[in-house]
């Protein structure tokens, strides 16, 4: 198992009730798998599935990115009201 730190912002933090949590996940677990774990724990997060950006260590990653010990993971809810044309330019909504 590895330990990662998860940061929550905006609506996510309101749902989770904390700005930061530590999670133990399987070796080679992916960002998408960690998100699924969170949705199971906090069902109100499910509405964000499909319109999230994922970041590891302050860098955007794809959902298939594998986690490593002490990574800082952020699940980034849609930003600043979003825009109609955002999707075309952004490859990492998952």
């Amino acid at each position: 198992m590895i330990t990662v730190r998860v940061r929550f912002f905006a609506g996510h933090r309101d749902i989770v009730g904390q700005a930061e949590q530590t999670y133990e996940v399987a070796d080679h677990a992916t960002v998408a798998e960690l998100w699924q774990t969170l949705v199971t724990t906090y069902p109100r997060l499910v509405g964000y599935t499909g319109r999230l950006l994922f970041a590891v260590n302050q860098t955007f990653v794809e959902p298939s990115a594998q986690l490593h010990q002490d990574d800082e993971v952020a699940f980034i809810p849609p930003v600043s009201g979003g825009t109609e044309d955002a999707n075309a330019a952004v490859p990492y909504y998952c």
Partner: protein, 136 residues
Amino acid sequence: MQPFLITAEPLEPAPLVAYVTTPEDGAVVTFAGVARNHFGGRPTAWLYYEAYAEMAVPVLAQLADEAKSRWKVGHIAVHHRVGKLTIGETAVLVVVAAPHRHEAFEAAEYIMDRIKAIAPIWKQEHWADGDVEWRE
């Protein structure tokens, strides 16, 4: 002057304009995003902005690099405010210098669009009727 900054202090354009201005560039475009008293026809009392600052600063720099790869532009500076903003206060400044105005306008608009799409900065609307809502 830091060209890319997340700050709780009020934003002032003059230092950014001074930073980007060079003898090579005949155009300096300053875009200011300002806290507005309505959204979708509903009155807003004030706004709250939150950022993942450690990531937002490098993302702002990345967006400036994207603009530089698309247009012939010079220096770029982007500052974004966080915390409570009253109506009329500036939430974001995008300042772009270029040899000619067309490129400066286009690059400034592109950077603003990209900030709204991917920069990890969130706006919370505090409606005049007392409701509170993240814009997401």
